[in-house]
Symmetry: C2
Subunit: 193 residues, 2 copies
DNA sequence: AATTGCATGTAAGGAGTTACATGATTAA
DNA sequence: TTAATCATGTAACTCCTTACATGCAATT
């Protein structure tokens, strides 16, 4: 019975490309799935041990430039576990968006701070769009014909679409905050105090 | 020094409306912020105790229809803590989107399952759009002139915008999966095994 | 000589869910 | 009488991050 934990599959997935060390896995995740999934060392190294104990990965001592490292490769059982997980419906995780929560109670917020946060949010999303465009160019360029490429482009497309929609939303919302129709300020009348 | 935990502020925020019991808070969150923030009883009741110990909320025994309940109201200190938090920039939480992770490694997935999941995802987002429209109608109708209404509509607008963008993306992606350009299937050649 | 990158891990703790336990009242 | 709703909580557990500890190799 495979454990339900999701982070392990992120690791198994990375190992479909080639055998990797824990350090390699971290780096790969950061430059590939980071915008929708990431792992910390505190997850990766213990997970690798557990996966090895279950026979889903196999570790071998290796050496590169004089440094010792442990390379892990996917076993047949590991690949089977990954495929099974890929076929199972995702477990929905309760969403947690701190910016939206702050906006929801925005009437009580210092108005300048609210604007500042929305602007910062919009800028982050704009920055994302730029980065996605750059990544896409690199993907189309250096991974032409790679069997994984279409799937990687699909996740990028999702990121771009959501980022674009949120930028538009943030602009609309900033405009509305400026309109006189919105009562604002932490000094608003308070029925309780 | 206020604790950094975010869930407590969701509770303090709910109490800006009126004094509520733990049960009330749960219900309110579920019918208001649930699409971007929710709390379980396991969070709410212990948090209320801690907040009371810190003087941020004050509990009073109350009775309604013969049932005993503890009503909590926001204190002046609690309001100040909420306002301070509202003014502070959100701490970014590492994103975790299981569907995108599965799509990223989609080459190894059973093709039918991948399609099924994308369709289910699109349907969920469509359903959300419908629900958001209904909620918006109710908000405009029964909360006209309410000081919180503009902010609540803004969070709704965000939800609608993101849902619409993801529906479009899912449709695009499904079409692309059907195109012959995408190599597919768990039986794809595997350089390791 | 100092800094950055490679490389592997552990410890502690916070956050958050799930499942359970309990019991009263109201509506069907 | 049965089910749903109101109402309050606890225990166990998982997941995950943060911070720390260590040390070599290559670069500046």
């Amino acid at each position: 019975m495979p454990k339900p934990g999701r982070s392990r599959y992120s690791i198994l997935g990375a190992l479909t490309l080639r055998p990797l060390s824990g350090y390699d896995i971290k780096k790969f995740l950061e430059e590939s799935t980071a915008h929708f999934w990431s792992e910390s060392y505190g997850q990766i190294y213990p997970a690798l041990r557990a996966l090895e104990a279950e026979g889903l990965v196999a570790g071998e001592r290796s050496e590169r430039a004089g440094r010792l490292r442990r390379l892990f490769r996917l076993t047949a059982a590991g690949r089977a576990a990954l495929v099974a997980w890929l076929g199972a419906p995702p477990r929905p995780r309760p969403p947690r968006d701190e910016l939206l929560l702050k906006l929801f109670y925005g009437r009580h917020a210092p108005p300048a701070a609210l604007r500042r946060q929305l602007i910062a949010y919009r800028d982050r999303q704009q920055e994302r769009r730029r980065r996605y465009r750059a990544i896409e160019a690199g993907l189309r360029d250096r991974f032409a014909g790679h069997a994984d490429q279409p799937y990687w482009l699909m996740t990028l497309d999702c990121g771009r679409a959501v980022a674009a929609a949120t930028v538009d939303w943030a602009d609309r919302t900033l405009a509305e905050l400026d309109s006189a129709a919105v009562e604002t300020g932490a000094a608003a009348p308070d029925p309780q105090s």
